[in-house]
């Protein structure tokens, strides 16, 4: 089954991956080109292989999903513009959403008719997410959202967003982790202002979102009002773990790095770093496979997903730093034939920061995996 699936994926990608590559998805044109690519994937039944058939998937196992991802990255296929929805919101809807929400939201997510942005961080709530102050005030039939969200990935061009809002004060709720509500909202609704933010490297990969009494119907609350923190944290391991960064990405990049090293004359000064990139990618693949096997056997993903997040983000960065060092002075050329290394390096630079900084993750590992005192 797996080898037939692999062959199908490889063949389809071989025939359809755009060449030359699409423009960056963090440009207006690139975003729409990536949306069109997602529609092509969906039409081929390859957009959301692990989902149930009724939402556009084919009920692939985690192991088959890993095969898909390996082939996807090996083929050099476009970045997934729907990543936030697919890897963060969808698992939340599967676990905590209602049937009505799944029926309404998952099919357009699968074919990128609706692309989702995440809206977690606020100007004064980054690593300390529970310090968030954006409010949800109950009104007849729904909620009015007010406040500021920032560093919202994809928000510059996306259609909808999801995040946490304070629906009762910490004092009323008894804890700042209570009284938070998980809500979804339309980025084009009255009262929403999106200010794109240029990232390091110049692209508008994220944005600031200003909300001024934006109406959201009750149907767009996930789970019970006030229960948002628990819901968000229960799927946080998806963001850190295997669904955000599949091993295929690193295996493909490590193989390209080894080729680059040879092309540049097998510099012995860089040799160990090239080998370590390959070893790290292989270790991440094997570890992820073991995790998938464990989950398939009924296990759960806990604090150990923090170890994966630190590991892949540092691997990604080290791998691309090595490539730039190999390229030497031509590495800075953003228009040259090797520019992909620089673009991927800029992308990798954010890895140790988002989805919970690596410092936060290390503290979680020490306290929750090793059992050190708080």
């Amino acid at each position: 089954m797996t080898s037939a699936f692999r062959a199908e994926v490889r063949e389809w990608l071989g025939a359809h991956v755009p060449d030359p590559p699409l423009p960056s998805l963090d440009t207006a044109e690139g975003f729409e080109r990536h949306r069109a690519w997602e529609r092509e994937l969906a039409a081929a039944g390859l957009a959301v292989v692990s989902w149930p058939a009724r939402y556009g998937g084919r009920e692939a196992t985690l192991s088959e999903w890993l095969v898909f991802e390996e082939e996807y990255y090996a083929a050099g296929a476009p970045a997934r513009v729907g990543q936030n929805g697919l890897s963060l919101l969808a698992p939340t809807l599967f676990t905590h959403g209602s049937d009505e929400q799944r029926d309404r939201l998952l099919p357009p997510m699968a074919c990128a008719d609706e692309v989702w942005a995440q809206a977690w961080s606020e100007p004064d709530a980054g690593s300390d997410l529970a310090a968030l102050r954006s409010r949800a005030v109950a009104v007849s039939g729904g909620w009015l959202l007010s406040g500021t969200k920032t560093w919202s990935s994809r928000a510059a061009f996306a259609d909808r967003a999801f995040g946490l809002f304070r629906s009762s004060s910490s004092a009323e709720a008894g804890s700042r982790h209570r009284g938070l509500t998980y809500l979804m909202f339309d980025l084009r609704a009255p009262g929403v202002t999106v200010r794109p933010i240029r990232q390091l490297g110049g692209r508008t990969g994220f944005a600031e979102i200003f909300l001024d009494e934006v109406f959201v119907p009750d149907a767009d609350v996930i789970g019970a009002p006030g229960d948002g923190w628990r819901i968000a944290m229960s799927t946080a391991s998806h963001e850190r773990g295997l669904s955000l960064r599949s091993p295929g990405r690193f295996l493909a990049a490590a193989a390209r790095l080894a080729s680059l090293w040879r092309r540049e004359g097998c510099d012995p000064g860089v040799r160990d770093r090239v080998a370590d990139a390959w070893i790290g990618a292989r270790a991440y693949q094997l570890h992820t496979q073991a995790t998938a096997d464990r989950l398939a056997a009924g296990g759960s993903l806990g604090a150990e997903s923090s170890m994966g997040k630190v590991f892949w983000s540092e691997l990604d960065l080290a791998l691309h730093e090595t490539a730039l060092d190999l390229l030497g002075p031509s590495a800075e050329d953003r228009d040259g034939p090797d520019r992909r290394w620089l673009e991927d390096y800029l992308f990798a630079l954010a890895g140790p920061i988002y989805a919970g900084t690596n410092e936060i993750q290390r503290t979680l590992i020490a306290e929750r995996v090793l059992g050190l005192p708080r």
Binding site: I279, H287, Q289, D293, R362, I365, V369, L370
Partner: protein, 360 residues
């Protein structure tokens, strides 16, 4: 794509082994060994043999278990975890593979004054635990370890296995270990290229086990050691240091299982470098006869386990503070063993070079 890194049978076996070693006061045994009193250590090795540990890599037709390399990895990890003294990769892995692989060329050479049945006798001695064996495999393993404890010393080089004669043992940084030059003796037969792979894999597993032990010791220490009115484990700098160790060990471990499965495959297919130990051209990236997936995976495991173990050792010393810098404290047994084992069975640099040669 490989499956789970450890079979459930291997982990059950490791559990039994762990329980036995946990009750055997191995640090005391190791200290007696370091003082020249080998008797308690040799008794421990016989107990290990009783559990089947020394027969894992001996083929069934020669009285061993012919076990999967996964079981060998599980056993070596436990022996490393408990800092068992003695030539572990040699006796458990490389020597059985060499003796069992003497094969066609063995007949003539084994007759050199030692009798044709001798390799079989040695193999049964390994299985019963009466025989501890060591070897040199220059250039990757230029010295033989623990020759005083060994009833059999071999030299494998240039494609042949010989009986070796040990020179005067020299002290190792690991006080429970010695190293000696070995002189060539009578030729026994052809040297299997698999021996160096099995030795390197066993050593990687031993290193990972030792690293895990040091992480555990560090965690226990920082939970109880108080400074500035708090357990030192409550300080973020300490937490983050130990988190990095946990990450390195966590991601090194699956590489061991994958290498074991690759070696299992190579055993079945005879893919590995024609089965003869090569001339050892280090600069050219050739370590032993190993090429292809098995050589690549063994090298990846050795590099990752070695680095993770060494990181664990440095962190353990740092978080223990001055008490960790004493011979008196038991962490010294693991700290020095890791330093001694790290460059054996191929240095980290040699394994990285070979890995790149294998993936070209």
């Amino acid at each position: 794509m490989t499956g789970s890194p450890m079979s459930s049978m291997s982990s059950e076996f490791a559990g039994v082994l762990h329980e036995m070693l946990d009750g055997a006061d191995v640090p005391a045994v190791a200290r007696r060994w370091a003082a020249g009193d080998l008797a308690p250590g040799l008794a421990l090795w016989r107990r290990l043999a009783g559990l089947g540990v020394t027969g894992l890599a001996v083929p069934e037709k020669q009285g061993g278990l012919g076990a999967s390399p996964l079981d060998l990895v599980a056993a070596c990890e436990e022996l490393g975890h408990h800092a068992v003294p003695g030539p572990v990769p040699e006796t458990l892995a490389a020597v059985p593979v060499l003796l069992a692989g003497l094969g066609s060329g063995a007949g003539a050479g084994a007759g050199a004054g030692s009798g044709p049945g001798l390799p079989e006798e040695w193999l049964s001695g390994l299985v019963s635990g009466e025989l501890i064996a060591t070897l040199a495999m220059p250039p990757w393993l230029p010295f033989a370890a623990d020759t005083e404890a060994a009833g059999l010393i071999l030299v494998a080089a240039d494609g042949v296995v010989r009986v070796g004669g040990a020179g005067t043992p020299r002290r190792s940084v690991d006080s429970t270990r010695s190293v000696a030059d070995v002189a060539d003796g009578a030729v026994l037969g052809t040297a299997s290229g698999l021996a160096v792979e099995f030795g390197a894999l066993a050593c990687a597993a031993q290193l990972l086990g030792a690293g895990r032990a040091l992480l555990g010791a560090s965690v226990r220490h920082v939970q109880v050691r108080t400074q500035f009115g708090r357990p030192v484990g409550a300080f973020q700098a300490v937490k983050h240091k130990l988190a990095d160790v946990a990450i390195a060990l966590e991601f090194a471990r699956p590489l061991l299982g994958a290498a074991a499965l690759s070696l299992d495959g190579a055993l079945g297919s005879g893919v590995l470098g024609g089965g003869v130990l090569g001339g050892g051209v280090l600069g050219g990236g050739v370590l032993g006869g190993g090429t292809g997936a098995a050589g690549r995976d063994v090298s990846a495991a050795k590099v990752a386990c070695g680095d993770a173990a060494y990181l664990a050792a440095r962190a353990a010393l740092q978080v223990h503070g001055a008490i960790g810098y004493t011979e008196e404290h038991d962490v010294s047994l693991w700290l020095t063993k890791i330093r001694a084992l790290l460059p054996t069975w191929g240095t980290q640099a040699e394994h990285r070079a070979r890995l790149l040669a294998c993936i070209s």
